[in-house]
Subunit: 325 residues, 2 copies
Amino acid sequence: MKGPRRAHARFDEAGAVALFSRHFSRISGPAVALGIGDDAAVLLPPGSPLVVTVDASVEGTHFERSLLGLEDVGARAFEAALSDLAAMGARPLAALSALTLPRGFTPRELERLTRGQASASRRCRCPVIGGNVAKGPALSLTTVALGLAQRPLTRSGAKLGDDCWLVGEVGLAAAGLALLRQKSRRRSLHLARCIDAWRRPEALLARGLALESLAHAAIDVSDGLAGDAGRLASASGCRLLLEEAPLRRALPRALVVAAAELGRDPLELALSGGEDYALVAAGPAARKPRWARRIGRFTRGRGGYLERADGSRVPLGFGFDHFEP
Amino acid sequence: MKGPRRAHARFDEAGAVALFSRHFSRISGPAVALGIGDDAAVLLPPGSPLVVTVDASVEGTHFERSLLGLEDVGARAFEAALSDLAAMGARPLAALSALTLPRGFTPRELERLTRGQASASRRCRCPVIGGNVAKGPALSLTTVALGLAQRPLTRSGAKLGDDCWLVGEVGLAAAGLALLRQKSRRRSLHLARCIDAWRRPEALLARGLALESLAHAAIDVSDGLAGDAGRLASASGCRLLLEEAPLRRALPRALVVAAAELGRDPLELALSGGEDYALVAAGPAARKPRWARRIGRFTRGRGGYLERADGSRVPLGFGFDHFEP
C-alpha cells in the first residue's frame, strides 16, 4: 500500500492506509497473512493453482461520473475484475486496488468510492489486502484479483460439437447506458432494471465455480456477446454459430421493453452490448445446468455467425473489436 | 489480458495480446501454467507464502516524457514495483502490467514502452504473465508483482537496539532529476551516474533475498530515506536515530559532486530523495552483511531524528509525507 509522491500529495500514504484499512480490514479471509499497510501483502501458500487478473476502469473511457455515483464506480470496477475470476471458474482469494485520483478529489469522494469497492468486496467474499494511491489527470481504478481454481477454465478448451451456453443476461447494461444517455423521463421497472444492470453489475462467481466441472471453456462478456463468444471460438479453433431463435427466447423482458423505448433491436443490443458480465461457456449438451441457456454451438471452421431460423448465416463481425484509426 | 472498450480503441485486445506476447512470452518461469491471452493468468500452487504488490507510474506525477525515453519509463515502472518485493525479501514469481494509453499513442511508442518493461522483466527474472490495456487521458503503467518468501520481511519487525542499515545508494536519483530539470550542460561521469540512477533504477532483489535471513525489518526507499526509514520505525514502534557521521561517509562521490553542481547539501538530497529504490533494514549489529552500511539505530521512543556529531538531534520531519492543501 503506497501513497502518492509528495509533490502531488493530497492523500498521503498514512491517510490512504487509514482509509483503506477502515473500509477493507473488516473483510478478511483465511489466506491473508499480512494485509494493508506494508510494502506488499502476504497470502498463505495456496493449495491449488492461482488465478491472477488485473482490470482497469478509467473515467471518460469506462465510466462518466455524470451517469454514475462514486459508490457505483467503485463497486462496478471491483465486480468487473472479479468477473475474470468467474470466467476462469476460480474462487476469489484476495484483491488489490490501485487508484489514480484527479486533483481536487476530496476525502469525502474517496470515502464514497472505497465504500463501493468495500461493498463489492463483501458481496464477492474477496478481501482487499493492499493497493496504491497516486495522483493523475483522471479518476481510475485498477483492480488486481487473485483466485484459486483446481482446474481453471480457459477460453481455449471448447470442443467440436459443444453447445454454446449463456449464463446471466446480456444487453441490459447496454440498454441501461443508452437510456441514461438519452435522458429518457420514462421510468418503469423494466427500464430501471436495465439501468441497474449497467450501474451495478455482479460477477457471476458461484455460476463460474459451478461451470468449472461442467464446461470445457468459458469467457465473461465485457465487450459484447458476439465479440467475446467469438474470442472463445477463435481461442478454441472452432466456428461459433449463435442461433437466433433460442437467443431471442433467452432475451429478458426488460431488454425487449428497453429496446422498444430506444427504437433498437433487442438482439442487436444483446449481441453488441457488454458490461453485464454474463458468462459464455462451451460444454456438452448432456452437462448443461438448468441455469445456463443454450444459444448456439461450436462447429468445425473459423469465425462467428448468427444462424437465422431459415438456416442463413450472418457474420458476427460487428461485435468483434478491431484497430480503429 | 483485456483490451480497451471499442469506442476508444486504437490498440484492440488482439493487437495488445500479440504485442505483449511478442515481448513478454520469451521470458517465462517454471510456475507459469497459463500466460498472456486468457481472462486471467494461472500460476502453479506456490510452496511458500505469496507476496503481492501493485505500483502505479503516472505521467505528470511520476515521470515526464520530456526527461525520460519510453524504454526508461517502462523499465523504471517495472523496477519500482519489483522493489516492493525486494523490500519483503521475496523472490519474483510473475508480474502483470496494466497500461493506460493516451489518445494518439502510437504502436511504435507502445513497442518502446513494452521493450523497456521486457528488459526489466528479464533483468529481474520475473515473467509478465498478463495485463490490461485501456485508453485514458495520460500514460500510466500499473505493475502487479507477485513473489515468494518463506518468511516475508515486513516494516514492523525492528527491535529496540537494532542498527539501521542502508543497502544501495540514496540521493543519486533526486540529484539526477534535479540536474535534468536544470538543463545543466556540464557532463561528467559522476553527473551521468546520477542521471542514470533516476532513469534506470534497479530493484535490489538479491540483496532483499539475502536480508530475509539477516534483518528484522525492511522497507524500500521510494519517498526519501528520512520518510521511509521513519515509516519503518513507526511501524515497529521504535524511534529512529540516523547518525550524521556514518551517513555522510556512506554518501557516494557522485552525489557529493552533483550536490556541489546543484548548490545543495548532499545530505539533504540523501534524506529527502527517493526513487533510487535503495533498501533500509533493521537488524542486530552482529548480522550486518558487508554490503550494508550502518547509518543509525532504533531506540525506545517515537519519531525520527538526525543525530549530529555533537550529539544534538534534528527532527527528520521534512522527509515525512503529510496532507497538503
